[in-house]
């Protein structure tokens, strides 16, 4: 059958332009077979990477009909079926669309473009140096320090090795990095490929740098930079599910840090806490607790003032909050999950064996402030298990010792003082907004 290959071509010095190559193909031909024939039979200057032809080397990643994929894995028949199903659902969709799938002549058109998030060198060949640099940034090697222990070999049980299977399948093709939404606006973010590898290192029973690694990945260049767009999971040709691996890193960090460690961590902990309190999220409180850190972060709180006033002015700031009628049930359910997980390692997910390692016995480092001998449940009761201990069926929880009131220049007095000052400050701002007068005019002083 005849297929039009609409290939986006460019060099470092020329603007991208589309070049259409007609080709007689078989449904079983891979996209790579087709590109090879175009290069050999029609235009020898067409540039693309290739090597193994068998979904092993990861060289031929490119954007095929709108998403990153391996040219050697996708074939004409599958692509045609995909385009036909899209077309069947959107018969009128050819107007004003970039990269139409079917030309007016009814000849199927495949759009082939270089990967995203990397500069193009020529045609479908991109400069992957940032991709490799970011991989290197997570130190993707089992720590050699552990080699100083007396054993000559590092033995693993089959179960310990199995935990590395999914991440070990990564062939570093770049498809996830190409589609990563977070990479587009955060040049510091190392990317899904690097973080999947990072988790592979954390999960490896032989590696003894767990605590240092988790500390290293605990910012927006690491795990918290992921915006959970699911693109990496959806395009990975090897089912590595990088976003899920990033999630495992976050689980490990959340298990060993309290809500004061960072705003990203506080965001997660406040979510759980608020659901235990009211079933739904009380949005009036959420920003105050997460961004304002319950009046501890004055700058953060001040950053919310314009948003709050805007929402108030447009009638969008909720004035009331109605807790779910099932709050008591969901609170005790969350307590039960937390109690269960604090007793035993995390439960196995359905499908493949759990990626979560059990406690490693190879760790020798005791230097770090974070426990290096990581357990997959919080060693201490989390912040979340504190506030709602009134639940009738609540699991045993500890009570948090609140700072006692005292006279003089104590930390408690300072904290209370700061909170009242902030309440006064915000009240003044609101007063000025609604009266359209400044404070001194309102007092009648001028």
């Amino acid at each position: 059958m005849l297929v039009h290959f609409n290939i986006l071509r460019q060099t470092t010095e020329t603007a991208p332009h589309s070049h259409t190559f007609p080709l007689e193909v078989e449904p079983s031909s891979t996209i790579l077979d087709c590109l090879n024939r175009i290069k050999w039979e029609q235009d020898g200057t067409l540039a693309f990477r290739k090597n193994c032809r068998n979904t092993i080397c990861g060289s031929c990643s490119m954007r095929i009909n709108g998403r990153s994929a391996l040219a050697c894995k996708e074939n004409v028949g599958q692509e045609l079926a995909r385009l036909q199903s899209i077309q069947a659902f959107a018969p009128e969709s050819s107007e004003s669309r970039p990269g139409t799938q079917t030309a007016e002549t009814d000849i199927p058109t495949f759009t082939i473009a270089p990967m995203g998030n990397m500069p193009v060198i020529k045609d479908l060949v991109v400069d992957m140096q940032p991709f490799w640099d970011n991989l290197d940034a997570v130190d993707p090697y089992v720590s050699t320090e552990a080699r100083q222990v007396p054993e000559r070999e590092f033995l693993q049980t089959p179960e310990e090795r199995d935990r590395l299977n999914q991440t070990g399948n990564c062939i570093l093709c770049g498809a996830c990095y190409s589609e990563c939404n977070a990479r587009e606006t955060n040049p510091e973010f190392v990317g899904p490929h690097a973080l999947a590898k990072a988790w592979r290192m954390v999960a490896d029973s032989r590696d003894d740098r767990t605590a240092e690694r988790l500390s290293q990945y605990n910012d927006t260049s690491g795990a918290w930079g992921c915006t959970r767009c699911y693109y990496c999971n959806s395009v990975c040709p090897m089912e590595v599910a990088p976003m899920d691996q990033i999630g495992h890193i976050k689980q490990a960090i959340l298990a060993t840090h309290d809500d004061q460690a960072s705003r990203a961590i506080r965001h997660r902990k406040v979510m759980v806490d608020m659901v235990k309190t009211g079933g739904w999220i009380d949005e009036r409180q959420f920003g105050f607790k997460v961004v304002g850190n319950s009046l501890r972060d004055i700058r953060g709180l001040a950053s919310l003032v314009p948003l709050g006033l805007r929402m108030l002015a447009r009638g969008k700031l909720p004035m009331t909050f109605e807790p779910s009628e099932g709050t008591r049930e969901v609170r005790s359910l969350i307590h039960a999950v937390q109690a269960l997980e604090s007793k035993s390692p995390a439960s196995p997910p359905p499908g493949p064996p759990s990626e979560k390692p059990t406690q490693s016995d190879s760790s020798t480092s005791a230097e770090s402030s974070t426990p290096s001998n990581l357990s997959w449940a919080p060693a201490m009761p989390s912040e979340d298990s504190v506030s709602s201990s009134s639940s009738p069926s609540a699991a045993p929880v500890t009570t948090q010792v609140e700072p006692s009131p005292a006279f003089g220049w104590t930390a408690y007095a300072e904290q209370i003082n700061g909170r009242f000052a902030m309440i006064g400050f915000v009240s003044l701002l609101l007063l000025e907004l609604f009266t359209r007068q400044d404070f001194f005019t309102w007092l009648g002083w001028r």
């Binding site: 969709s93 606006t185 739904w280 949005e283 929402m311 109605e322 009628e325 359910l333 439960s347 499908g351």
Partner: protein, 303 residues
């Protein structure tokens, strides 16, 4: 036959996007779709529960699904994120029932222990968009249109979780969806296509990586404007928060005025059914929706 759903309203529609709650109610009432609100449901976690623990996300949402199951109804949501999270939990627990019964029983054991209805895997999680496209049907919808939104150029913004959280979508290709655009055509509006329509709005980062989050939102809004859009229409209230409520801050980050109205999906459809803009809360957006109403000739002169 009357369509009937167990309605999961979600947090945002009961809070900062109350206009979504209003417009879903108005739309379903006009179409004769019956909603039974799940008053005992709870927040799905918007993807963050899983970052704490998979069991937490599964148990909380198994409970939500079980509430719908006890009514023998499909669960309806009007939020892309709720759809992706609860839909994925439903998919994985259905799979676990045969492939990992120990896990399935663990989740149900927790539900039983806390006095919740058991999860049985007998229902579906349906986004309002899918209910319109698949259950009600676009042809039936077209028959109900009384005010065609002719000339209005709409840019869809799907939301990540609606497209990619679940392995299989009932109607759409995750990388080239058409449901929203088909709805636009059905109500007489013109879809405009732009790259960002399937991408992340930036909301998950907004609380702590604010600038990156707003750059994401700003990039998409600018692309939609460049494609000629009069408005963005989204089936996700979290996307709405970042694209509408925070648009003034987004403007500051990208350094240009945007002022692109952002509509909720049921607002757009309900306008075509002749429901008044006030009833749909179109006056409760941060970015004024007046340019859209003006274009449609729906702007009532102020008294």
């Amino acid at each position: 036959m009357t369509l009937k759903y167990a309605y999961f309203p979600g947090c945002v529609a009961q809070g900062a996007c109350r206009e979504l709650y209003q417009s879903t109610a108005a739309l379903t009432q006009a179409l004769g779709i019956e909603l039974v609100e799940l008053k005992k449901a709870s927040c799905c976690g918007s993807g963050t529960f899983k970052e704490d623990s998979q069991l937490l996300e599964d148990a909380v949402n198994a409970r939500n699904i079980a509430l719908a199951e006890s009514l023998q109804l499909p669960l309806l949501t009007h939020c892309s994120t709720c759809q992706g999270v609860i839909g994925r939990v439903n998919d994985r627990l259905k799979q676990a029932e045969t492939q990992n019964p120990a896990y399935f029983n663990q989740v149900n054991g927790l539900l039983k222990q806390e006095g919740c209805s058991p999860y049985r895997g007998t229902t579906e999680v349906r986004h309002l968009l899918w209910a319109l496209v698949g259950d009600f049907g676009l042809e039936a919808l077209a028959e109900r249109v009384t005010q065609r939104l002719s000339g209005l150029k709409c840019a869809a913004f799907y939301g990540c979780y609606l497209l990619r959280a679940q392995d299989h979508l009932p109607y759409d290709d995750p990388h080239d969806p058409q449901s929203m655009e088909n709805v636009f055509r059905t109500v007489g509006a013109t879809p405009v296509y732009y790259r960002g329509r399937t991408q992340c709005c930036g909301w998950p980062l907004a609380s702590y990586a604010t600038e990156q989050s707003f750059q994401m939102a700003g990039g998409h809004i600018q692309e939609a404007i460049a494609a000629g859009a009069d408005c963005i229409v989204t089936p996700c209230p979290l996307c709405h928060l970042n694209l509408d409520s925070r648009q003034p801050e987004v403007e500051a980050v990208v350094g240009r005025s945007l002022k692109l109205p952002i509509l909720h999906l049921p607002q757009l459809v309900a306008l075509a059914l002749g429901i008044s803009p006030q009833q749909l809360g179109l006056d409760r957006h941060v970015v004024s929706t007046q340019p859209v109403l003006r274009k449609l000739g729906l702007l009532t002169p102020s008294p």
